[in-house]
């Protein structure tokens, strides 16, 4: 059997049939910029990217919070790993996570959603709304930009909590309470998601696959009519997935140099996980994807809250989470501190990888990225979410202050920071998160007032 090739016109017909204008993964060449380099020649703004980054079990505030505020803040012991990119980092301390229900560890998600969790039952919960990365991804899409991959979710340590139920503790990204976007732990699979699906222009399977997806959409629409609200929403998510696949199929293969397959699956292991290596591979892949404009939004779950992760690289043999609960000796002899510094170093590695990559539109990728970082609590041993630190990194194309600052808040609302980040991608956004207090609460965790101190 031999397969004929289909005419390019047929491919274009398939693209055009979908209606929308498609922005695809073309390289951003300098020639595409306008004369003063502030926008693309066509008037479109220079692409801005978003990254959320997380590790669980908190910090030791007395070794994390910088000793002074403002632009020339001194790096604390636990911030020391950020030294090479310090100017790109604004550190915000002293804000109180306003989550209305405390389960331990779960409430960290409120920093990323601005909403209290739902479906709470024992050690189970789902987030109360979409996470910031998905709000940003929707904002980018609403601005008319369609990248082949709307957003990508990456995970580093597979040893997530096995005592917690629900979706909160195992997924940093959510589109809604019942729609987690699970992290992908295999660099090979991340490569495949980002670079593996482009079909050559002359491959006839493209339009045929599109016609299959059309039929699937019609079937899904018919099924939806017979269902209730919950299942309708689930099928809407299914349709969203079909739409995203269509965009991938429609996308022209990127002209920029795609990276080779990493050759690392990061499989589940009985023993040390390759945390440093996998974090670096994920950073490399994301840098390529940002450079090629394959995607503009990503999240990274380094180590989960209450996770089973053992940070063997620092010479410990027990879970980092357990160390935060295992007596003052763990704190004093440095196990907890060393674990936090180790994880901060991974965060720094990730940011440095973006900084070390030239953005085709000028500068480096971190110049045109906003990264939002936090944990699931301020300090692990109490699970306190009072004074929970956050870091907003990157220049955001000039949106954020550079050099960054340390701002010590007297109990501000972390969702104000979230709103500031969202407004970088959707200037018309007026709020984020849950604005109406839940039962037995007088203060909702959402925000309508952006935090301006970190804005340029």
């Amino acid at each position: 059997m031999s397969r004929k090739t289909l005419s390019r016109r047929a491919v274009l017909r398939g693209v055009l049939a979908s209606g929308a204008a498609i922005t695809v993964g073309l390289p951003m060449l300098e020639s595409m910029l306008n004369s003063n380099g502030t926008a693309l020649a066509g008037g479109d703004p220079i692409p801005q990217r978003f990254l959320s980054y997380f590790f669980g079990n908190g910090f030791l505030l007395n070794r994390f919070v910088p000793a002074a505020t403002g632009p020339n803040y001194p790096l604390s012991e636990q911030l020391q790993p950020l030294a090479p990119i310090k100017d790109y980092c604004s550190v915000i301390t002293g804000m109180n996570n306003l989550c209305e229900k405390l389960i331990t560890h779960h409430e960290g998600i409120t920093i990323f959603t601005g909403a209290t969790m739902v479906n709470i039952q024992g050690l189970s919960s789902n987030p109360g709304g979409p996470t910031i990365d998905q709000l940003v991804a929707d904002a980018i899409e609403a601005s008319g930009v369609v990248t082949p991959v709307k957003s990508i979710q990456m995970g580093i340590s597979r040893q997530l909590s096995y005592m917690d139920g629900g979706t909160t503790m195992h997924n940093l990204s959510h589109r809604g309470p019942n729609q987690p976007l699970p992290p992908e732990f295999s660099p090979n699979e991340v490569w495949n998601n980002l670079f593996g699906s482009f079909t050559p222009m002359n491959d006839p399977s493209g339009p045929l696959r599109m016609s299959v997806l059309d039929a699937v959409k019609d079937q899904t629409a018919a099924l939806k009519k017979r269902l209730g609200q919950t299942d309708k929403q689930r099928l809407d998510a299914h349709l969203e997935g079909v739409n995203e696949l269509e965009k991938k199929l429609e996308a022209v293969p990127p002209v920029c140099q795609a990276p080779g397959i990493p050759g690392e699956d990061n499989p589940p292991v009985n023993g040390p996980e390759p945390i440093i290596k996998v974090n670096q591979l994920m950073a490399d892949l994301l840098a390529y994807a940002f450079e090629c404009d394959v995607t503009r939004v990503a999240s990274v779950l380094l180590v989960g809250g209450a996770a089973g992760t053992v940070l063997y690289d620092i010479g410990t043999n027990n879970e980092h989470h357990l160390a935060t609960h295992n007596g003052q000796a763990s704190v004093q002899n440095g196990i907890v501190h060393n674990g936090i510094v180790y994880q901060m170093q991974r965060f720094s590695d990730f940011l440095q990888t973006l900084k070390n990559k030239t953005d085709p539109t000028g500068g480096n990728l971190l110049d045109n990225t906003i990264c939002f970082f936090s944990s699931d609590c301020a300090e692990g041993y109490t699970h306190s979410v009072q004074k929970q630190p956050m870091i907003v990194a990157g220049k955001g194309g000039g949106y954020l202050k550079y050099p960054g600052i340390h701002y010590a808040s007297a109990g501000g609302n972390p969702s104000d920071v979230l709103l500031t980040v969202l407004q970088a991608f959707n200037p018309a956004a007026t709020s984020v998160g849950q604005l109406v207090p839940g039962p037995n609460s007088n203060k909702a965790p959402g925000s309508t007032s952006p935090f301006l101190e970190i804005k340029a």
Binding site: M1, S2, R3, K4, L6, L102, I103, T104, G122, L123, S124, Q159, M163, G165, H170, R175, N178, Q179, P180, P182, E184, N193, S197, L208, R209, S211, V212, A215, V216, D218, Q219, L223, L227, G228, Q229, T230, D231, Q233, R234, D236, H238, G241, V242, E244, L245, N270, V310, N317, N318, E319, L322, T324, H325, N326, G327, Q328, A329, Y381, T382, H383
Partner: protein, 569 residues
């Protein structure tokens, strides 16, 4: 033995104390989702729903219908049944999530991420391609000789035939027509009928009608709020539950012909399906997920502290528990309570060496009685459970105890209260204390902590004779003697693992709990109030059978809670 616990629990629910989240009540939380839909028949005080057919009980009301995603193994098994082994080997559905310990709850409640939709497309294309390049598989689904690559009539026969099995119901003409068009377009494009089959098959496999099982039913004339599942819907529900697979042709034909109408018909079919080898595999998967046995080969242990632990021990300890259950449930079809007080287990060479008994000749597992001084008793002596619910370098009384409270007794333990310093004091050589003594000092000195910890920690006090890898020891890591005594209110006092296991054997909550867990597994929802009479009926039948787990599964299938649904969720 009556279901006195449950009756009490229902009464407690009605007087309201169940709505508090603290561990202040005497019996823990009622194992029903009191907030769920479909609780129309809440009924009067005391609710004696134990007598008679639950369907005639005015308090009975089924749970909402809707759609549930096939689990990954159900997807692959369905393809194996319908398209053959070659096709099944090419299938690569997205991984399942779990929600509150159950894959079936996630499959009924969570939306799919875009990566899953893409995985379904990839899998469908691979399966379809495997079929057309494998003549025997292709022959199975092409009943006609095509006149050419655009033979619409032959495509129609293919789609109607294999579609009927894949979608577990006949396709309407409206549904078939667009798929014929895809077949014709692809066949024409490539100049080959088989490529048309490939794309038509890929469409059927990517369809929500294959990926999700649809449970909507038809309105019941006697109860307008209820909908009786159609024959094929019911056949699918029971095949997925009992065999992790799609109904085969015979069962689908039986169901379409009205052969799944009465409770006795359902019992007969269920018993037949339970005789199939895939029923054992399905139950193994249930335990693999619920008890986290599948994690064991990749459970990290500090090699310096637990030198006996390895990935191989993890895998063999997983199989030990599964072999034990396979023997109890299938080979012996014996009293399920034995799971908690057995004085025997199953070992292969790896586990024999681990437990310090003579290895069996041959490579498989053999039934053995372990040395009496180790006091291993049923599940509570299995290294897999003991190791999974421990830390990497030490035991965890709280995790082992929480597992028993939550998964064996179905009493939900709320999270720690906010703002509590959860740090345990360091080991002080001048005042040496065992972990049990430390926990009692910390958890019991504070009423906030004691309320819940006294309902989970003590179960694991006697289990301290097993280290964090499940190995027997007489002294703890600091050389201190271990005190195996414990007491839990409403459960009893015990002075050893075997006494604790015996109390578990005798506790009706443990038997109600396994019914509850199977119920969730079978239908993908947490029990709701309206289902109480049906569940009580299943529990009573389970008891009457002498606690034969197969009978619990049969009675779930025969229950009106299984045959009827409310409006779709």
């Amino acid at each position: 033995m009556r279901n006195t616990f449950l009756a009490t629990a229902i009464f407690t629910a009605l007087i309201g104390s169940v709505f508090t989240s603290a561990c202040s009540g005497d019996i823990g939380k009622l194992p029903f989702d009191t907030g769920g839909a479909g609780g129309a028949g809440a009924g009067g005080p005391g609710g004696n729903g134990t007598g008679g057919d639950p369907i005639d009980n005015p308090q009975f009301s089924p749970a909402p219908g809707g759609i549930r995603k096939l689990l990954a193994r159900q997807y692959v098994n369905s393809i194996r049944v319908i398209l053959g082994e070659t096709a099944a080997n090419s299938a690569s559905p997205p991984e399942d999530s779990t929600l509150n310990e159950f894959e079936t709850l996630a499959a009924a409640e969570l939306a799919l991420p875009p990566t899953a939709v893409e995985a379904y497309e990839t899998s469908a294309r691979d399966v379809a391609s495997a079929v057309i390049f494998d003549p025997p598989s292709l022959q199975k689904i092409v009943p006609c000789t095509p006149t050419g690559p655009d033979d619409a009539n032959c495509y129609k026969q293919v789609i109607e035939g294999v579609g009927h099995q894949l979608w577990r119901r006949p396709l309407t003409e409206e549904e078939v027509t667009p798929i014929i068009a895809i077949g014709v377009a692809a066949g024409t494009e490539y100049g080959n009928f088989n490529f048309g089959v490939e794309y038509a098959l890929s469409t059927l496999l990517q369809s929500p009608y294959f990926i999700y099982t649809v449970e909507i039913g038809t309105q019941d004339p006697d109860h307008p709020d209820w909908f009786k599942l159609t024959g094929p819907e019911l056949a699918t529900r029971l095949s997925l539950f009992l065999n992790d697979s799609t109904p085969d042709k015979d069962l689908l034909t039986l169901a379409e012909g009205g052969g799944l109408e009465t409770e006795d018909q359902l019992r007969t079919v269920a018993r037949d399906l339970l005789k199939r080898p895939d029923a054992r595999a399905a139950l193994n998967s249930f335990y693999d997920v619920l008890f986290k046995l599948r994690d064991l080969p990749n459970t990290t242990k500090d090699a310096a502290v637990f030198p006996a632990w390895s990935s191989a021990v993890g895998q063999s300890s997983r199989l030990e528990t599964l072999m034990f259950l396979e023997d109890l449930v299938w080979n012996q079809n014996a009293d399920y309570r034995t799971f908690y007080n057995a004085n025997y287990t199953f070992v292969d060479t790896t586990m024999a060496n681990f437990y310090g008994v003579t290895p069996p000749s041959g490579s498989g597992f053999t039934k053995v009685t372990l040395p009496a001084e180790q006091k291993r008793t049923g599940l509570f002596g299995h290294a897999g459970y003991l190791a999974r619910y421990s830390h990497a370098a030490q035991t965890s009384i709280t995790r082992r105890g929480a597992f028993i409270a939550n998964m064996i007794l179905c009493s939900e333990i709320p999270p720690p209260p906010p703002g509590v310093n959860t740090t345990l004091p360091d080991f002080d050589p001048s005042k040496p204390m065992t972990k049990k003594e430390t926990l009692i000092q910390v958890h019991y000195s504070d009423d906030q902590c004691k309320g819940c910890h006294s309902k989970m920690d003590p179960y694991a006090f006697p289990l301290e004779v097993y280290d964090g890898s499940g190995k027997y020891r007489t002294k703890d890591e600091n050389g201190l003697s271990l005190d195996p005594t414990g007491e839990v209110a409403d459960f009893g006092a015990f002075a050893s693992v075997s006494e604790m296991g015996q109390l578990m054997h005798d506790d009706p909550r443990a038997m109600n709990c396994i019914v509850s867990n199977l119920f969730k597994q079978s239908m993908g929802h947490k029990e709701i109030k309206g289902e109480r009479p049906a569940i009580l009926s299943i529990q009573n039948a389970f008891e009457a059978s002498g606690f034969k787990l197969q009978e619990a599964m049969v009675e779930i299938v025969a229950s009106p809670a299984f045959s009827y649904v409310n409006l779709p969720k």
